[in-house]
């Protein structure tokens, strides 16, 4: 079977991303390396959200919680002098999965608006918990002493090396999500999304499938959180702010819900647009200073008029 056009576009995008570090070094513009690394980290988080939102039909308005847990796992271990990356990242993934299991066990039973609200409420709880723990900086957050250390194997302090680690994880997660969605598990998950009554009638209960997807998604997002705090070198409860959850949702929608390439396209479009509106010198000052106003208008227009997102512009099947 020949790969679909979207697979080509995605492969092309990843190759393009792989070519960025030498290009940035050649142009002497390290800023782009930083910007695109951020884009890819958010693309990982958005990919994890897409698994439950796009394929599972679960509108989680609290996905920033796992970004926060992953970030706190790295930050708190670092605070006690444990900088070993293998340990830090495993704890980030494990803790996120555990919290997702607890949150999911309660919220996956509800649906519709109640699911949206209950996931939001749990994230708010964690957000306020982060704010009130003075030991780890509370409201102000705290600086990380060092990036995660992989005992000489990879040095994350080297911007290009860190960049390629993020790229590799992104590519791996995109591949794994694709495989997962095409598996029996993924088919069941999608069947439950499109018609729950029919799914029950043919003999399976959607709950365990949904809960499992919720936990996998949380664990993936936890790793994105660990990467994000390594990227910013600063730990703050703002990682769990509810607007962050909204941004993640928007990336998924903008890129194309339930498509493999969508989260990457959406994360790139949103973050580059933000950067453009904030800093592009050709734009009048009235725009750069109040860029959120224009971003807000663009958001509304996209939702109202571009139903299938950016991936919808490329020919291919929609789930």
């Amino acid at each position: 079977m020949r790969p679909a056009p979207r697979t080509w576009v995605l492969a092309g995008l990843l190759l393009l991303l792989a070519a960025v570090p030498p290009l940035a070094a050649w142009l002497d513009q390290p800023f782009y390396l930083d910007l695109l690394r951020r884009v890819m980290i958010f693309a990982i988080a958005a990919t994890s959200l897409n698994l439950i939102l796009g394929y599972g039909g679960m509108v989680s308005f609290g996905h920033a919680a796992y970004l926060g847990i992953g970030a706190y796992a790295v930050g708190v271990l670092g605070f006690y002098g444990i900088h070993d990356g293998w340990l830090q990242w495993s704890v980030a993934i494990g803790a996120s999965a555990l919290v997702a299991l607890a949150i999911g066990a309660v919220s996956v039973r509800t649906s519709g608006i109640y699911f949206i609200m209950i996931t939001l409420a749990f994230t708010q709880m964690l957000y306020y918990l982060g704010i009130s723990i003075e030991e780890y900086g509370g409201d102000d957050g705290m600086r990380l002493a060092s990036r995660s250390q992989f005992s000489g194997l990879i040095d994350l302090a080297d911007p290009a090396a860190f960049y390629y680690v993020v790229l590799a994880i992104l590519a791996l997660f995109l591949y794994l999500t694709r495989r997962l969605v095409d598996s029996r598990f993924g088919r069941a998950l999608q069947a439950a999304r499109s018609n729950e009554a029919r799914a029950r009638a043919i003999g399976f209960s959607p709950y365990p499938y949904r809960l499992a997807a919720f936990v996998i998604s949380g664990a993936m997002c936890g790793l994105a959180g660990a990467l994000l705090v390594n990227h910013t070198l600063y730990l703050t409860p703002e990682f769990m702010n509810w607007t962050r959850s909204g941004e993640l949702m928007f990336m998924v929608i903008l890129g194309g819900i339930g498509t493999t390439a969508g989260p990457l396209l959406g994360a790139a479009a949103l973050l580059l647009l933000e950067d453009l509106l904030q800093g592009w010198s050709l734009l009048p000052k009235a725009v750069t200073e109040h860029w959120q106003l224009y971003l807000g208008v663009i958001l509304v227009l996209v939702v109202l008029h571009a139903k299938r997102g950016l991936a919808g512009l490329i020919p291919g099947k929609n789930e």
Partner: protein
């Protein structure tokens, strides 16, 4: 813990409760009737606070400022409904959440453009400042009592409108069966706009009342909006009675939790542990409450009749 402190905090809780109710009433109606999740409802609260402050500075008359700010909030609400939200009614919740999230960014920046990013100073009229002596050495700010009074009066008025008038009958009918109401020849679009406008005015009223108590700044709407969501989810989405009960419960739990949880914990735990756990638990309390309510009554305490 003495009685005066408890009474004072209870009044504070009541004041937060009625404020939450004013915002929640519009939000729950909009959800119940139009099936719209409106995250931008907090922005209308912010608009009310800014307009109230602005008009009071300009005119010097508080009642006039209140009237102008109410009309202004209603106008902003109606324009938003007609321009942006109308097309969203038939969409799924996901699109609604995102589009109204965009509106939040828009309104916050618009306000920042007009009045700046810093909090603006909002005053209360001379004759409403000062304290009132309530029985037994408890003196309480008059302005906060006024807020409680206005809030309870509006709640009563709202009950009367919904339960006793033709408009209220249409609202209830619209909430239970939209196509049927439209088939009976009611202009449902107009009804939506009217309901949204009144909801906006109520949120604006809340904003202009509490502006001088809290702080008037861009983003103030989102801080309270999430609490309001907790209120309507606890009360049962679409039910005004539920919104009232939910608002008072959340207002009380939040205020009393913040005031008394730490000293209460200190009697059981060590002082340092209470210091650490008290504030954290207090700010998580209403979300815990919501999770518990949803676990036992998945449709809230007062389920709207559908």
């Amino acid at each position: 813990m003495n009685l005066i402190l408890i009474a004072e905090q209870t009044l504070n809780g009541l004041q937060l409760g009625v404020t939450l109710f004013l915002i929640a009433a519009g939000l729950t109606l909009v959800f119940g009737i139009m099936n719209l999740v409106n995250l931008a409802h907090g922005a209308l609260y912010m608009v009310g606070a800014y307009l109230g402050t602005f008009f009071f500075q300009q005119t010097g008359s508080w009642p006039l400022a209140v009237a102008l700010a109410l009309a202004g909030s209603m106008l902003v609400g109606v324009v938003t409904e007609v321009v942006a939200l109308r097309t969203l009614y038939e969409r799924d919740h996901l699109d609604q959440v995102l589009a109204t999230f965009g509106l939040i960014l828009f309104f916050n920046e618009l306000v920042a453009m007009l009045w700046g990013r810093a909090a603006i100073f909002s005053t209360i009229p001379e004759y409403l400042s000062g304290h009132v002596q309530i029985a037994g050495g408890l003196s309480y700010p008059l302005y906060r009592l006024v807020i409680i009074g206005i809030g309870l009066a509006v709640a009563l008025l709202l009950w009367w409108v919904v339960a006793r008038t033709r408009l209220g009958m249409l609202i209830r009918a619209g909430a239970s069966n939209r196509p049927m109401v439209a088939a009976l020849g009611v202009n449902i679009r107009l009804l939506y706009t009217v309901v949204f406008g009144f909801g906006a005015a109520l949120a604006g009223l809340a904003g202009l009342l509490v502006g001088p108590v809290y702080s008037v700044q861009p983003g103030m709407g989102e801080l309270i909006l999430i609490q309001v969501f907790v209120v309507i989810v606890i009360g049962g989405i679409g039910s005004i009675r539920g919104a009232f009960a939910g608002a008072l419960i959340v207002g009380m739990v939040d205020t009393l939790g913040r005031a008394f949880l730490k000293p209460t914990l200190a009697t059981v735990l060590s002082p340092t542990a209470a210091d650490a756990a008290g504030p954290a638990l207090a700010s998580m309390l209403i979300y815990l409450l919501m999770a518990v309510v949803l676990a036992f009554r998945p449709a809230g305490l007062f389920r709207a009749v559908r």
